[in-house]
Amino acid sequence: MSSGLDNKIIELVLSALDGNMDSINALEDRVVRSKAKAALFKAKKDPDKFRAENTGDRSGADEVKETVTSDDSQKLIANFVLKGLDGDMDSINAIEDRVTRSKVKAALVKAKKSPDEYKKIHSPKAVSNVASSSSEVKEVVREESINLKIKNLSVAKFPGSVLNENVDDFLMINPSIWYDFAIWLKTDSNLLFDSLQCQTGFDIDGKILEARYNLHSMSKKHYTEVRIQVPIENPKIPSVESVWRIADWFERETYDMFGIEFSNHRDLRRILLPEDWEGWPLRKNYEVQETYHGIVIPKMKEGWE
């Protein structure tokens, strides 16, 4: 934006950003005036950036420079993440460079899952002790995430249960041992996931049905997501409604909408739709039935509806 514009226009826009519109309105030349107003409109979207780019001094944003070396960048990211963990989001949001800012935010999300460990590793005196190569720092951050912890702990008890390699966002669990795995998640003293927050069904491209469980621990305040995939021809997942009692209704809703059958559920029937409805509505290939008890279900809205 700074190339191709006269310095005069830049000056006018800068003074207008400070609130002084008179100088722009006083311009006689219509073309220049309209150019200035257009530039002002663009500048208003991100005034600080405009100012920084066009005044040549970076006051107020001096904490973040372009990442020069990978070492410095890792340290800077760690600094910001530590600040974010303490609740200070302003300095993160003031980072100008979008790439760095998003890196910091991604690291913050990961760090929030186990803040104490992150702090231990990345507090200023610890950073100097850790090896300065960035890849090792990344591994340390990932090692402490709760998902990885679960994966490592489950290797002994339930070998082969965690089916995905990259456990950053979720854990993909083998359906056959899901019931025992769920009991272990709830009762193990390191994990204590005593609250099932949300349970949904997903239809992946019409071939695979998936059930996702968002689990949370009230006492330890960590949180994880578990996904279980079954083929659409034979969708059967063991029910966990005796582990978390709310799964009773959540699973009924998933059954109602997707047709996933939960074995050993005490009373699996439709919950939101009438008992004799046909079809699984939230599947991608669902077609509404023609009539229901003799009432025609219209596919298109009539004129007056």
């Binding site: 208003k44 979207k45 609740g87 949001n93 998003s102 935010k105 966002d169 005593d194 609250s195 099932l196 927050q197 949300c198 949904t200 997903f202 239809d203 996702r212 968002n214 009230m218 305040k221 997501e225 978390w244 009692r245 709310i246 009773d248 209704w249 909408m257 439709r270 919950i271 939101l272 739709l273 009438p274 509505p281 939230l282």
Partner: protein
């Protein structure tokens, strides 16, 4: 469960009944006056919200979220908008954040007023209901001044708000808060410590903490059972970590911890805390800032999913949004707090008298629009 004893009577409360908070059917098996089991039947208000969201764009989902919990529309919007902004990594300016908090807390007060009034009506106290509606009208006037609607606002947009605050809003809100604070004490004197009311609600429908957690009950119902869990404090979103407020917890003031009276009283105390938050937010609101500043031109979130929870007046409202890179959601699920609150009724209401069942149902403060979506 399969044998029907000779003296048992099967009774249907609803779907048309003056006391159920919406269209709900409770099938009750009673032995004389004592209830032996309750089976809720829901789905009378199912409007295919989740399927609709798979064919409209992300901005167009916002009016649909209003209609789920129609008594607390601002917080429904708030939850969705916060989830989307986290997915898109948009940062909104301070003025928008403050206005959002003010609106959400005023909505919390309005929703609690209606819930408490309806609870009193079920117990038989006709007058406090009308007093609370009178006060709620003043909040709805404030909302109407801002965005033109009294019940379904479509106010919070992804990246900002639909309208800025009008001239005179801040003064009117201060006037309302000054008028309303003594009314809470008046209400407490009229109903909360009334001997008959206490007898009807104390020690009734006790919900122990582990039952509440296992059933996923959150919000004031969980706080009344003694656990101090408030998403505004424990998992803060927006700028709630800047405000000072207490989290009221049930202490068994007139009976056991977690009975109907506790659930009632926690909501009364929460209204007071909301007043505090609104005052702080109004005092620290920046005077300038454009509410349309960060509205994105195109909303195309990256491929992935997000699950974000916010605190609605009924509990933890969760949105699970999965995007496949286009401008239409691939799947959107709303985890409604009243759904979990209703599922616990068989556990806590079996064994009480028929009048108690209605008292317990009233104390859970459910809204059928949210349960059925």
């Amino acid at each position: 469960m399969g044998i029907i004893r000779g003296e048992e009577m099967v009774l249907n409360i609803g779907p048309q009944h003056p006391a159920t908070h919406g269209v709900l059917r409770l099938q009750v098996r009673t032995d004389g006056e004592i209830v032996s089991s309750i089976t809720p039947y829901i789905g009378y208000l199912h409007r295919c919200f989740e399927k609709h969201c798979e064919s409209v764009t992300y901005e167009q989902v916002i009016p649909f979220t209003d209609r789920c919990d129609y008594l607390a529309s601002m917080t429904m919007n708030f939850g969705y908008v916060v989830a989307m902004e986290e997915m898109l990594e948009i940062k909104v300016n301070d003025r928008v954040q403050h206005i959002r908090v003010v609106m959400a807390e005023l909505q919390r007060i309005a929703s609690h007023l209606l819930g408490l009034g309806a609870f009193g009506l079920d117990i038989g106290a006709f007058t406090p209901f009308l007093h609370m509606l009178r006060d709620r009208e003043r909040i709805l006037d404030l909302f109407e001044m801002t965005c033109g609607a009294r019940l379904l606002y479509n106010y919070m947009w992804i990246g900002g708000l639909s309208h800025d605050l009008p001239v005179g809003f801040v003064e009117s809100t201060y006037k309302f808060l000054d008028y309303f604070e003594p009314k809470i004490d008046e209400f407490v004197n009229l109903l909360v410590h009334n001997k008959i009311f206490v007898e009807r609600t104390a020690d009734i429908g006790v919900m122990p903490q582990d039952v509440a957690i296992s059933y996923g009950v959150t919000g004031p119902n969980l706080r009344a059972s003694g656990l101090k869990w408030d998403l505004r404090r424990d998992d803060p979103y927006s700028i709630y970590n800047k405000f000072e407020f207490e989290v009221p917890v049930g202490e068994g003031g007139k009976g056991s911890v977690g009975d109907c009276w506790d659930r009632f009283y926690v909501r009364v105390l929460e209204m007071k805390e909301s007043i505090k938050i609104v005052r702080q937010a109004l005092a620290s609101m920046p005077k300038d800032g454009d509410v349309h500043q960060s509205l994105p031109k195109k909303i195309k979130p990256p491929i992935g999913s997000i699950y974000k929870r916010t605190e609605s007046p009924r509990g933890d409202l969760g949105y699970y949004i999965e995007s496949d890179g286009s401008n239409i959601p691939y799947r959107l699920k709303m985890r409604s707090p009243a759904f979990t609150a209703l599922s616990v009724i068989d556990e806590i209401a079996a064994g009480w008298l028929l009048s108690d069942v209605l008292a317990i149902l009233g104390s859970l403060d459910i809204v059928l629009g949210e349960i059925d979506r």
